[in-house]
Symmetry: C2
């Protein structure tokens, strides 16, 4: 059976391998009518993984980056071995801080509540992020990952966003908090809570391969959302539900604030 | 620091443990103003994992089910050991077919292209699904997972959906294909491509804990989507992009169709 272009050439597990096999030169391409651009070298994408992180913060973007033909996606942990995420699901890192490519094209940090607090105190992780962040083409995060970037000193003087429950904490880290789903300021791209990683990653895919490729990806992942409730932002959820959840998330907010203030004093 | 109700009581890694520690009776509850209902026993949720599957098909629902206090979520594989998904990310199953709870409250099957084709031919997996599906309270899928459910004989006489590229194949498996993001027919709940798993899981969370709890979850995961392109369905993407992607996915469609027809003959 030969259909000419197979699915593997666009997406899926073999995308990277097949793109590399083609050894594409930088420039504009056309694949079955789909116009896209390729870089000179595959983009090195380093995605931080750490205990207690929110799996969906990572997997939304990971799926889109993985479907972006020609990228090299690395799951980078402090050490080898399975990493348990906040709901108990474990994933395997592919690199450690010591063998992560240097420099990287995209540095990415996912978030979570307890996990983020721990990482905001973890000197080894902060040092790694500060190092790769200095030279990365794009420095990015989803959810509370921006607090970790901020604690690593990477958001000073930048506009940024985070999960709504802790967004204001960014100002203690030298950033200007913005209430938006995805915030771009020069080479910093930060996204709001958990599911925003999908919107975020499609925007990055458009930067990497062009709008038309990203449109095809949006169709491939059938991103035509129909949230069952109109409750996905504090404004839409209304005062009551927002108030209840904000109270439940207050310990996270307060701990993050304390750590951010301690960090500001130390600078 | 004592804020009364901590985040862990609502969401996150400790949700299940803390809910169990409380040994809640079935009935209506109020947590810091949030009204929700609890079952007599934690719901057993069996989520199939298999080589080549699309991670986001699984992780969207997994994140929501994991944040649904009191559930027991199992990642069930044919055998032990890491399972590599379609972009190369590996996750660890927590159960195998032999030690998966029986019966389960929710049976869930994610999809993918190559992985789905393989599973449509895998007698051991089909037998496991047919077995648990017989007694499960809800039989569910995201993306091409519905083709696997259908091949296991679980969608005969039901309305169902799938990824747009293969939705029509469902009719060869005795189901009635419906063009909708989430399709409920009695105890079968099937969702469309990849990202639809988030919409799907929030609807199930509402069934399990009530609308108010699901509204809080929608805010917790900040599901206020803003797709960067209006391209998430064939209708929105337009004929050109849809045609290109459909041509690329034609081998998947044709293989799935052949397997479905072989299955229909065998019945």
């Amino acid at each position: 059976m030969n259909h000419g272009i197979t699915r593997r050439e666009l997406v899926g597990a073999m995308a990277v391998a097949s793109a590399l096999a083609q050894k594409p030169a930088a420039g504009d391409y056309d694949m079955g009518g789909l116009k896209y651009k390729m870089p000179e070298k595959p983009e090195q994408i380093a995605m931080l993984v750490y205990p207690g992180m929110t799996a969906l913060d990572l997997i939304g973007p990971n799926q889109v980056f993985g479907y972006t033909m020609g990228t090299r996606v690395h799951l980078v942990a402090k050490e080898q071995g399975a990493v348990k995420t906040d709901t108990g699901l474990s994933i395997l890192p592919t690199k450690t801080f010591s063998d992560c490519p240097n420099p990287v094209d995209i540095l990415f940090v996912p978030g979570e509540a307890i996990g983020t607090i721990n990482l905001m105190k973890d000197e080894e992780t902060l040092k790694f992020l500060a190092d790769r962040g200095q030279t990365a083409t794009l420095v990015t995060s989803v959810c509370t990952g921006s607090l970790i970037l901020g604690r690593a000193g990477l958001l000073r003087g930048y506009k940024a966003t985070s999960h709504w429950a802790v967004r204001d904490v960014l100002s203690e880290l030298g950033a200007t908090p913005v209430n938006a789903r995805v915030v771009e300021d020069r080479n910093r791209i930060t996204a709001a809570g958990i599911t925003s990683g999908i919107d975020f990653a499609l925007r990055i895919a458009a930067k990497l391969r062009g709008d038309e490729y990203a449109r095809a990806l949006e169709l491939q992942i059938e991103y035509d959302p129909q949230p069952p409730f109109q409750s996905g932002s504090p404004e839409k959820a209304g005062e009551r539900i927002h108030g209840i959840l904000a109270a439940m998330l207050a310990p996270l907010h307060d701990q993050a604030l304390q750590l951010a203030r301690a960090s500001a004093k130390a600078m």
